[in-house]
């Protein structure tokens, strides 16, 4: 067989704004969400959950529920015993970490409001839920550890048997590590002739609030038990099920079908998954559980929740000399899958893009009687970025410098890369000057500063603030050896395989598990370029342990930079396997073959054949070289050599109504350097969505508990997710310093917007009212908090909201308190 079929030159796919392959199904409703699955004889679960944050279960009367129509069983922790397995913590951050046992359904004591105490199994979801109301549980309420700082003082114990709420203390010190100087010396020196900025910031508790509530179906009727779950981590889930239930891994198949968002919230192994698994096995029938939104907000893991005590030292000219970080991190009631590792992921990032000569990070994780916390978009790095970007802005204010000039004075210059930081990381590439210059131009920085000056001088009731965030992050989790050093329980590699089909089409499997990111499209583009096959001919398969058998799933902006590299390497192996076969068929020497544009050609001739033709030839296998297998399929497992360091400059303009405390976003510009861009359309979506999640932390979202440990923001009526009407359109662009640690030069983008935007917004709000003596406003910056910050002084202390608000409104107009002053005045 020789090449007779010429193919038009394929346009370069990488860099094209391909429309997504995923969309046709999603825009027509032809979707495969877990909750859509129905099976013959399928049973439904409803959970009976504790209303108390901390209580002993004294009795459970199931009789009335068991007698309800179509109820099959009512099961408690005592009924299931060890058959329910246990939930794991994959990252004990210290070897002496204190962690309670974590049964999916405890038999005797509940340690947060929402914990499952009984499960009702019925023929329909509605009947299960009806009967759940009939389960009579008696509790002896125990004192609950709710407030993080109080819990850290062990005033009330979340788990009395443990004797303390302190789970683990983790420290990094640059002097001890040999990566920098002594931070206490630097601070002491700055107290005498330099500048010291000391602040305490609150990272409020957030809820990931993915749009698809979690759902799980288990079918135990096959030889392999199959679990469908709305999860980010089918492979880790399968491993953990096998490790804790005694069921061999080879007897478990996990499928993550269409998954409706995750943002870290579905990077978890959940009590509900374990209970469905145990009950399906016990009853021998397919079983489904889908949570309500209220359950999702109450018991799906939360994020952030830290107090950050920060000390930054500098010389009087603005040169930073030291940074000391002391964190209290609220774990909630259990040390969950990543748990205490989340704040530690920030440990290497507080120093950010700046050349601190001395650095120290201390983190105390604390158990409380609240919903457990774990990864939420950014996981550790938003906290770090918020702290340092707020501090750098405060230092600039203290020294009366422009915040960008102060940053430039301290950041790593582009000619200094690769740069080893005081936290011991090697940043491979970056150009902070270029991103900042572009962002300033797009923003109209100087003009907005001028407008700000005019409004201040005129005493305008609506003040303008400009916020800066020049962030970097570490992503692409992660080099396995580094994870090993950090005592993490797994590796950080990713796997891919490329299957060359007889008809020339290509199936690709990836261990990354998409839940909205667009892997099917971006990965098709990579393979199309690498193998020189049409984009349409590539099918990307994922999220099923039987199909993509090896993988470590999707989180930490890792899919492209780790999974994409595995894909490149598998594709390259396909080409190398095809080469001797093509040479044989073309009757040429292997050394005389060139591969380009999907085609092997014999140098200096017009002879050649496409890789698709080689695929067909190995399928028929009529003619191939001796000693070679007749197939091209190839696998690759890639373990990254380094983290990956995207960066960017984000500029935000906020208008603050000083009479009402209302804030309004005027403009948001960001220039992110994420190296090579595979698909600019997908990148724009990641940036926009990331920005809004970060902005939402700054302005709107907070999971609030009452003193008894009850979540009071447990519905979308109370937990303020932004809407289209709350947000604006963004101006985004890029500079590019390709990464040198992966073949394609890519950097992660999934978390960048969220990591960068929060401090940009808060810096802008504070900047707008700094001349009132304000240097901080706690997140979320609600109108009440902003108003209080502005008026604390003129109200003479006490509660400034009482009495003082009315005089700002003119009752004579009849518009008392109703005038919209949020649109701002113009000068």
């Amino acid at each position: 067989m020789t090449a007779t079929q010429e193919r038009a030159e394929v346009a370069q796919e990488i860099g094209r704004d391909r429309r997504r392959k995923e969309d046709q199904r999603l825009i027509t409703g032809r979707t495969r969400w877990t909750d859509n699955i129905t099976m013959p004889g399928m049973l439904h679960l409803a959970m009976v959950r504790s209303p108390f944050a901390h209580a002993t279960i004294t009795s459970i009367d199931k009789s009335e529920a068991e007698a309800a129509p179509n109820v099959v069983a009512v099961l408690t922790g005592a009924d299931l015993g060890e058959s329910q397995g246990t939930l794991i913590n994959a990252w004990a951050i210290t070897t002496d970490q204190v962690a309670p046992a974590h049964p999916p359904m405890p038999p005797d004591r509940v340690s947060f409001a929402g914990e499952v105490v009984a499960v009702v199994v019925a023929r329909s979801a509605a009947e299960a839920r009806d009967a759940a109301e009939l389960v009579d549980v008696e509790y002896d309420e125990l004192p609950a550890a709710v407030d993080l700082k109080a819990a850290a003082r062990d005033e009330v114990l979340a788990h009395p048997d443990l004797g303390t709420n302190k789970s683990a203390f983790w420290k990094f010190d640059s002097a001890e590590a040999g990566t920098g100087g002594d931070v206490d010396e630097a601070i002491a020196k700055a107290r005498d002739g330099g500048v010291v900025i000391e602040r305490e910031y609150r990272q409020q508790r957030l809820i990931p609030a993915f749009m698809e509530p979690r759902s799980v179906v288990v079918d135990p009727t096959g030889e392999q038990i199959t679990m469908w779950s709305a999860t980010q981590i089918p492979h880790i889930l399968r491993f953990a099920l096998a490790a804790t239930t005694g069921v061999p891994e080879s007897k478990i198949r996990v499928i993550a079908p269409d998954v409706g968002g995750g943002f870290g919230g579905k990077l978890q192994t959940t009590p509900e998954e374990w209970l469905v698994f145990a009950i399906a096995r016990r009853l021998g029938k397919p079983v489904k559980y889908t949570e309500t939104r209220s359950e999702s907000l109450m018991v799906g893991h939360h994020g952030r929740d830290q107090w950050q005590k920060l000390t930054l030292s500098a010389e009087k000219d603005g040169t930073v000399t030291g940074l000391k970080v002391e964190l209290l991190a609220d774990l909630g009631s259990y040390v969950s899958l990543i748990g205490g590792g989340v704040p530690v992921l920030g440990a290497f990032m507080f120093n950010a893009i700046y050349k601190f000569p001395a650095y120290q990070f201390n983190c105390q994780t604390v158990l409380t009687n609240k919903t457990w916390t774990d990864a939420y978009r950014g996981a550790g790095r938003p906290e770090a970025t918020f702290a340092i970007e707020r501090l750098m802005t405060e230092l600039a204010a203290e020294l009366d410098m422009d915040p960008l000039e102060l940053r430039e004075k301290n950041w790593i210059r582009h000619e200094e890369f690769p740069f080893t930081t005081v936290a011991g990381l090697e940043y491979d590439t970056g150009n902070y000057e270029a991103a900042t210059a572009k962002a300033k131009e797009m923003f109209g920085y100087d003009e907005l500063r001028e407008e700000q000056r005019r409004r201040r001088e005129a005493g305008d009731t609506v003040q303008l603030g400009i916020g800066v965030s020049t962030f970097t992050e570490m992503c692409g989790l992660a080099p396995s050896r580094v994870l090993g050093q950090l005592n993490y329980g797994a590796g950080g590699w990713e796997h891919a395989s490329v299957r060359m089909l007889a008809t020339g089409k290509v199936e690709v499997t990836t261990g990354a598990s998409a839940h909205g990111q667009g892997h099917e499209t971006a990965f098709s583009q990579i393979i199309a370029d690498r193998l020189g096959v049409p984009f349409e001919d590539v099918e990307v398969l994922h999220g099923d342990t039987q199909v993509a058998q090896r993988g470590l799933d999707t989180y930490g902006s890792r899919s492209l930079v780790v999974g994409g590299e595995a894909l490149v390497r598998a594709a390259d192996k396909v080409i190398e396997k095809a080469r001797p076969i093509a040479a044989h068929l073309l009757e040429a020497s292997v050394d005389d073959l060139e591969f380009s544009g999907g085609r092997f050609s014999v140098k200096g001739t017009d002879q050649g054949m496409s890789i698709a033709e080689v695929s067909t030839a190995v399928f028929t296998a009529h003619d191939y070289p001796e000693g070679i297998e007749p197939q091209l399929d190839s696998d690759a497992t890639y373990d990254p050599v380094n983290f990956n360091y995207p960066h960017g400059t984000h500029l935000c303009a906020m208008e603050v109504d000083t009479e009402t405390g209302q804030v309004k976003m005027r403009k948001y510009v960001c220039v992110d350097d994420i190296g090579t861009i595979i698909n600019p359309l997908i990148v724009s979506g990641q940036v926009h969505g990331g920005l809004v999640q970060g902005i939402a932390q700054a302005l709107w979202e907070e999971a609030v508990y009452d003193d008894a440990g009850t979540l009071v923001s447990g519905s979308f009526t109370d937990y303020l997710l932004p809407t289209a009407a709350d947000t604006i359109s963004f101006d985004i662009d890029h500079t590019s310093s390709p990464s040198i640690t992966n073949t394609l030069g890519t950097k992660g983008v999934g978390e960048a917007g969220t990591i960068a935007s929060t401090p940009a917004v808060v810096n802008a709000v504070v900047d707008a009212v700094r001349h009132f003596g304000v240097n901080d406003i706690q997140m979320p910056c609600t109108p009440e908090r902003v108003w209080k910050a502005v008026h604390d002084r003129d109200a003479g202390g006490g509660d400034p909201t009482t009495g003082a608000a009315a005089p700002h409104f003119d009752s004579s107009t009849g518009m008392d308190g109703t005038v919209d002053r949020t649109t701002g005045g113009t000068l």
Binding site: G29, T31, A126, A209, F210, H688, G689, V692, F716, T723
Partner: protein, 156 residues
């Protein structure tokens, strides 16, 4: 049980339903119209938005019995054969979706919005979609998709 008959995506259907059954439950559980999804339990998220006699409604906020005799259009009935509705096409063209869970409701609401106001301003689009939550896109590309469907310029 109450007998209802209605037209859903052009097909006549009739069933006995519990009076408490929600329209969205009827669509998903009885008719297998799983394109329409449930995202919350407080009628905040809008993921379940369908058209009831030409008006957009949150189908978690309508009882199945209230739809008796009505004409219901879901995301599954929006395209004409292979031809996508212009709003569906615009969502794909402008990357107005990521995970896609809010998308059925978002598209159905956008269609209703444009029927009421064929040339909306950006602010009118944003206000018109206020009852539909999306966690992935930051709304930027959703707004662009609606603008494009309204003939207000191409995607970039």
């Amino acid at each position: 049980m109450t007998r209802i008959s209605l037209t859903v995506d052009g097909s006549k259907v009739a069933d006995d339903v519990e009076p408490r059954m929600l329209l969205v439950q009827y669509l998903r559980e009885r008719l297998g119209k799983t394109g329409t999804v449930v995202g919350c339990d407080t009628s905040n998220c809008g993921a379940c938005t369908v058209h009831l006699d030409g008006t957009s409604v949150k189908s978690c906020n309508v009882l199945a019995v209230q739809a008796d005799g009505a004409e219901v259009t879901t995301i599954e009935g929006l395209a004409t054969g292979e031809d996508l509705h212009p709003v569906q096409e615009a969502f794909r063209e402008c990357h107005g979706l990521q995970c896609g869970f809010c998308t059925p409701g978002m598209i159905m609401q956008s269609v209703a919005l444009l029927e009421e106001n064929p040339q909306p301003s950006e602010e009118e689009i944003r206000l018109g979609l206020e009852g539909n939550l999306c966690r992935c896109t930051g709304y930027h590309n959703i707004v662009k998709a609606v603008q494009q469907a309204a003939g207000q310029g191409a995607a970039s």
